[in-house]
Symmetry: D2
Subunit: 340 residues, 4 copies
């Protein structure tokens, strides 16, 4: 971390700041470089715990503070060079050589629906069933999910098909309901719901952490760090598009996030082209691009009857379309030396 | 709401869609206009409950869906032309003729600190004491607030000074601790924490709802609608800057949101220039602009010793600076025919 | 185009507006749908010439105007279903089955440099030499390019290697210098330099139009429409990243723009992962993703000595790295059934 | 400027880089601070000419480069503490104590129109007549302005009313037509049309430089630096809204840019609330806010018949509305100790 002081900062004030930093953060050393125009303090050692804001708070003498090292530690590939591979109860590995596909409806709507979709996506080769029981909806008047009943139906579909399941949690109070859910999803709107992240950090269950609507990659990794710092090392990152001024798509899918994350962190990275674009005919090309960019998996919305879907029907694929896409994706996984 | 159908949509499919909409949403009428190139269905009546996505889900025949009426109802000024005025227990009114100032530290840090700041901002004319007990921090290693103890210290400062208090809640589980807090704040990162909003909708306490980091005005109003739909009509909106590509400021304070909100909704609107800019010397000009743009109040960070602040020291004013600003702001309130 | 009128608009004012539209735009018919709450006018026929703003200008009666059809016509795939294939003088086709690679330094710096790079990228299989003679630089103190001399050196490199060349023009006055340049590039900052676009519309030479820093896809296509409307049908679109709040990369490369453009327009689409990310190690994964997403070509910065580059050294590949990437890219082109 | 080297950079490579920087930029000194984990080179002296990219180009050894000093010099208030005041031929001063109002139609449409509007805005107290002769339009099919004839009509209006005029130039070739125009405007889309900026730098005429659609404040100041570096010190900056994801307004007017610019530069700053919002009823509150935030002037669109305006009718005020706003604005100028 580099602290640039204002010109004409008296030497004693500089020393005071250095003393303060040293006393507050053991393991951090300060190197001071006094120039004629500008004085620079370089903080070295483990600066992940140093609060940039608290240094900036010395408004009278501090001009600027810049991080040199990443503010995250447990998610950082530098300190954990090998890929994290997450193994589910049925032996499925996420982050390994296989490209993992999670497919299913936006919302669980009925037993028939979820079992039908589960059966079909399994037949097409999907590895995990997705389905929303608790639904974050912009409008209080929109369908809010079947909630506890939705989780039960998912478990029935799991029993019927053997597919592990992933579903979104929206508050700490709901966590007990997810006891038999294989992967707990944190939605984009809750990426910085820190109280929820802390609770999930206490579990041993895999957490799928979606990128916030307009979060930077660093903020996203800091949210993953919350979960890991709590003791849960099984975090999967899911790119789902960011908010831009573009209105043609629902979001702008940031494919470059995939190789960037693979560079910065050891955690598995998957992509959700359904939410990332909001348009069915963009799912295939974006899924292909994601695999080629290095993604460890995909999350794709499939509904047995999109026209009747209670949410996100416009971006849900029909099972037969999904089947065709799976065949196509397998070729791209192969080129990457992976299976799917 | 206007539904544009794809060209060559067979008449019977059009009729099917109309029948479906009618059966699903009582009180909504459909007018169909068949053109040579394009067929348009106009939905009239109360369309606030109509889910645009569920219509878009008819991917085969629907080209585009556009709202004509706002998707919110209870917060809508059209259905509630008079300003909502929120009266606190001590008689202070928010949304009335007075411009209300909420001031205090980012975080409650100790009894001495909060009482000193409370006493000073009261002396300068602040009406409400702000202070964070639960702090949403990007890093798990940063100070997370004194939590329950912080709320207790705020209540002591309230007792000592008579100032009503506002503080942020971060999860439903914390709500009982806020029993004696006058206004509960929902932070930007929780603006779409719908489970929390639903819980707050069950209270009778005023809720200060901050704008999400990158939320549109419509999404923000929909979040206020969540609280009102739950039964709590005492919502205050707080503009606190949005995320843009600009890096000079922490956020880009959207002053235009003030007159827009006053136009669209009857709820009180306040502005937080401290978070909105992140820079102390921008607080005064932005506070003045906000008043002149029609804001009903301001939220300003003041710390007795910004250099030692455990959070947001860089944007916190010293009490004497705050005092000078209050004198200046009074003149602008006067020009607007308001008191402060 | 759909015009939604304000409630209570008198029938005669509605008729007046309809008469006005009809008299101004021949070939446009108006269908009026009077509802109890809202009146809607549907404009059908060729509405590409209808100015939305001029209708919105009827502030007293118009609530909202929405386009149903695209505002562009000549670039629209609906009216020109087949792919446009652009053939250069040497027979090279852009937009055909071959994925075309344009490679070279950001700036032309000397005869030795450009000929060395040209020779090397040709050996690696690049089809076109890129090189900047006129350089748009944020700072007036930064290297501005060799200008006319730079174009001459490019022509020497073309002569030496036989590679067609692409270079950026920055004003209409420079066009004569580009007489022997094979493809004229319009940079992101000039995407809406309409006077320049009009001049380029008078040429018969291929124009490579980069996406503006923060332009929507529709605005970009409208700029292409400027060139085509002037009579020059040889336009190539180049995605080069958009501006977002993310600071890790120079821009956010929008890979989804590729399949969207292939859907909306018949023009060839290429991608520039060098500018799109600003980071050398992201060039390969983003280039692969682009091919798989359907791109017709790539533009990649290669410099014989990036450390000494007068511009964009940080994102320029060394020739040997480029060579390895080309080998890799060929496999992805093959999977797509294309050559490279 | 601070250069952070990668860990394990050999000392001789560090020295090589330092030698290179010193030889390339006379007047720049380098202070090197070798830490155990990280080595930092601090560049002091006049670093405005130092190209960050060229240092970043040393990809093997450079981790990060951060500016400490601003990259602009002539526009920098640090080197020119007093406000620049621009005096027009008729004695009107921009940047002085008076808040200057530029009003008029988006486009010049006819002699009657421009003279009528000019007469009316003058009667209401406007100081300068605005009017577009060359119009940058997204669509090639939209009205492109009366061009040379438009300039002539503006000059007639100037003669008839005595009002100085401001009008937009779109290319260097048009400059001779602006000989008698008092202020030449550079539109948002041309803010980084560097060839045009260089030409305008050779004039002695005031240049009104609008902020680019999504430009940072620093980029904007760098464009002003282009003009000043060319020798023309008479630059006026005009905030006109930036592009965000918000769709309610045409742009998001960044009022905070006003005090920021007044802090960073000595140049006059004005605000265009008409383009900045695109909505007539937002012009007044945003104009008031701008004055209070420290703006030196305003640019407001007024049309004698907005419904018939050939461009921007939806955001143009009627003369009588403008008259009322002027009365209101005078009170705010007074509070600021300025005239209007």
């Amino acid at each position: 971390m580099i602290v640039v002081l204002k010109s004409n900062t008296p030497r004693e004030k500089t020393q005071q700041l250095i003393d303060e930093i040293k006393s507050q953060y053991s393991g951090v050393a300060c190197h001071c470089n006094e120039g004629t125009q500008v004085t620079i303090i370089g903080l070295v050692g483990d600066t992940s715990h140093v609060d940039m804001d608290s240094i900036l708070a010395h408004q009278d003498i501090v001009e600027r503070v810049t991080r040199v090292q990443e503010p995250y530690k447990m998610v950082n590939r530098k300190f954990h060079p090998q890929n994290t591979v997450i193994t589910l109860d049925n032996g499925l590995q996420i982050g390994g050589t296989q490209v993992v596909v999670m497919a299913g409806p936006c919302s669980v709507e009925s037993e028939e629906q979820i079992i039908e979709v589960a059966t079909k996506v399994k037949a097409s080769g999907a590895h995990i069933l997705r389905g929303g029981a608790f639904k974050p909806r912009t409008s209080p008047y929109a369908f809010q999910g079947l909630r506890a009943e939705g989780v039960e139906l998912l478990l029935k579909a799991k029993e019927a098909t053997g597919l592990p399941i992933v579903s979104e949690v929206m508050s700490a109070a709901q966590i007990p309901l997810f006891k038999d859910v294989d992967i707990i999803q944190v939605g984009a709107r809750n990426m910085q719901n820190f109280e929820l992240l802390k609770e999930l950090g206490r579990l041993k269950k895999p957490i799928l952490l979606k990128r916030g609507l307009s979060s930077t990659i660093e903020e996203w990794l800091m949210s993953a760090e919350y979960i890991m710092a709590g003791g849960n090392e099984r975090v999967i990152l899911c790119e789902r598009g960011i908010r831009t001024y573009e209105t043609f798509t629902r979001n702008t899918l940031d494919i470059s996030a995939v190789p960037i994350l693979k560079h910065l962190t050891h955690l598995p990275v998957i992509v959700d082209p359904s939410h990332g674009t909001g348009i069915t005919w963009l799912v295939e090309p974006m899924a292909k691009s994601s695999i080629v960019a290095g993604a460890d998996g995909l999350m794709i919305e499939v509904h047995n009857n999109p026209e009747r879907a209670l949410s996100d029907g416009a971006q849900s694929l029909k099972p037969e379309t999904f089947d065709g896409i799976m065949t196509s994706l397998r070729r791209y996984a192969q080129v990457e030396g992976r299976t799917l």
